[in-house]
């Protein structure tokens, strides 16, 4: 009797969450893999099974490769800048005074306001007529200076990436700060007594001890940079001439502007697979912790 009561209790407590999660997350995920093998424009009679044709088309789609390249550019260039700055900032902010705690708190502001706010803010930074950047450069004496940051094919991608770095950095400062705090004071002081100081101490002692934090940071950045959507969608919508197109803005265009539902879902599956593969690769690269500590 008691036993049956408990089973009922467990089941009834799990049921609501399982039902909602199953219907609106698990089921669409499963369907995504199915959809990706159909040619389908949204009218149910015309749903034809095409196997891997969508993926084959994807491989031959130069716009997709271009979009992926832009994502990877943001991972490579934006990621390196973010990591370097975040590491420098968190390293300089190690004491626990009120002032540093205040500063550390402010860095996360871009992360907690809506991506829509970040995008609009940076549209005003880059705006050619009333933009803060162009205006400031002109005020500094370069009155002929006129770059239409987001409309120029050469500057558009770096400009969008700068906005992304600005948005992302606070999170990594927080992450590295937690990593630095976890490094035992004894280790640091022992290193100092042994004569290791400044940069030498940093490279020999601090940097290797940040191993697991670095791994988390890199994977996290890869995931968020390969899933950029709102920022690019609002700032440039992939333009000019697809020079800032990323995977997800291309997916959105294929799905909700061209009604290529099967093809766009294949793109979504490919995006997911690329994220997983890159994360696995990073895990592999960082597989051996030289300090021997558990991650």
């Amino acid at each position: 009797m008691k036993r049956r009561g408990r089973t009922l209790f467990v089941a009834s407590f799990l049921a609501p969450a399982v039902a909602v999660y199953g219907l609106f997350v698990c089921w669409p995920v499963l369907q995504a893999f199915q959809f990706s093998m159909f040619r389908w424009k949204g009218i149910s009679e015309n749903k034809t099974f095409v196997g891997l044709e969508n993926f084959q088309r994807l491989v031959e789609d130069k716009f997709f490769w271009q979009a992926l390249e832009h994502n990877l550019w943001i991972v490579g260039v934006g990621g390196s800048i973010t990591m370097a700055l975040a590491l420098a900032i968190s390293h300089a902010l190690q004491d626990q005074s009120r002032f540093t705690r205040f500063l550390r708190g402010t860095y996360l502001f871009p992360h907690i306001v809506s991506m829509v706010v970040v995008a609009i803010l940076w549209m005003f930074v880059y705006n050619p007529s009333i933009g803060l950047l162009t205006q400031s450069i002109q005020k500094m004496g370069f009155s002929d200076f006129n770059v239409t940051w987001l409309a120029d094919p050469k500057t558009a991608l770096p400009a969008v990436s700068a906005a992304f770095v600005w948005y992302a950095i606070g999170f990594y400062v927080m992450l590295f700060a937690a990593g630095l705090k976890a490094i035992s004071k004894d280790v640091e002081e022992a290193a100092e007594l042994d004569g290791a100081r400044g940069l030498r101490k940093f490279w020999r002692v601090t940097w290797p001890l940040l191993w697991s934090v670095k791994r988390v940071a890199v994977i996290h950045f890869i995931i968020s940079a390969l899933n950029i959507f709102a920022l690019v969608f609002l700032m440039t919508d992939g333009g000019p001439d697809r020079k800032t197109e990323v995977m997800l803005t291309y997916l959105y265009e294929q799905a909700f502007e061209n009604s290529q539902y099967g093809y766009s879902t294949a793109l979504a599956v490919a995006n997911f697979a690329i994220v997983m593969a890159l994360s696995a690769f990073v895990m592999f690269v960082f597989r051996k912790d030289p300090t021997g500590a558990r991650a």
């Binding site: 909602v20 997350v25 500063l103 809506s114 706010v117 539902y261």
Partner: protein
């Protein structure tokens, strides 16, 4: 102790002092690049459209509070605010109880397959929204939930569950057993123990999860973009994004900036009040996810 003394005795060399100073300057400079754009948005929201276009950096001559009433009424920000508020509150009102119930059982009543179920919930933190977006779009159409705030709430609850279950399961695991056992001996059933004893104990965890989710829900853009096509159901992020597009033609910039302030201030205040807890929660999520 000896080590500390040794450290104090050693006076910093000149090079170190300079490095520290450069570090300080750099850190403050970076804080300014983060804060100045936000301050700029806030004071610009009090300027007239003419002031904004003629001197973007300038301080407003008079505080034009009418920008806010224009945004609220003429630009429908009031309506969008109400929609966002309803969606956020309704989502939390469903999410927190059902998430806590599931987390409680997963944390304290192990059964065959409970680890798999927990893993399935956690895997949700890994799936990007866009993997599901097309199937979800058709599912909502089939269910008649397309373009409804109810539908948006249902989807938000589902997508917020993984993180909520993850944090709350961890929380329930740390609660001591004796209280639950004592209540059991007093004749309380499992469900009663949960509602009367364990849930009140978990209140700090519930608050953190609630605030964390509230911020994310208030800001959410991608799902709303696809699931809410009509104007009257827009949430704030959708409304503001749309306002930027139309401002290019109407150019009531003052109202647009007022709108931006209205979107960002609630989350900034909430974040600042709970920032230590929020940092902790984000770190926990990052290390797991």
């Amino acid at each position: 102790m000896n080590v500390r003394k040794a450290r104090r005795r050693k006076s910093p060399s000149g090079v170190e002092a300079v490095t520290a100073l450069v570090g300080r300057a750099f850190v403050v400079l970076f804080a300014l690049t983060v804060l100045l754009p936000f301050l700029w948005v806030i004071y610009t929201s009090f300027k007239s459209g003419h002031e904004i276009t003629s001197s973007p950096w300038g301080i407003p001559a008079t505080l034009r509070w009418e920008n806010f009433s224009n945004a609220w009424q003429k630009a429908s920000i009031g309506q969008y605010f109400l929609n966002s508020f309803l969606v956020t509150v309704a989502t939390l009102a469903i999410l927190i109880p059902i998430g806590a119930m599931a987390a409680y059982v997963l944390a304290r009543y192990p059964f065959r397959g409970s680890q798999i179920l927990y893993g399935t919930f956690l895997s949700g933190m890994m799936f990007p929204i866009f993997l599901t977006i097309v199937p979800l779009f058709f599912l909502m159409n089939d269910l008649g939930l397309m373009d409804t705030l109810t539908g948006l709430v249902a989807v938000y609850v589902a997508f917020s569950l993984p993180f909520t279950v993850f944090v709350l399961t961890g929380f329930f695991q740390t609660l001591p057993d004796d209280l639950a056992e004592a209540a059991m001996i007093d004749g309380c059933g499992d469900a009663r123990v949960f509602w009367k004893v364990m849930l009140p104990l978990a209140r700090p965890g519930l608050v953190v999860v609630g605030i964390f989710n509230a911020i994310g829900l208030w800001n959410e853009y991608s799902l709303a973009l696809v699931l809410i096509p009509s104007e009257e159901n827009r949430t704030l992020p959708l409304g503001i994004a749309n306002l930027v597009m139309v401002q290019h033609y109407q150019s009531d910039w003052g109202a647009l900036f007022a709108g931006l302030v209205i979107v960002m201030i609630p989350v900034m205040v909430l974040y600042w009040l709970f920032r230590d807890k929020i940092h902790e929660t984000m770190l926990a999520g990052a290390i797991k996810g």
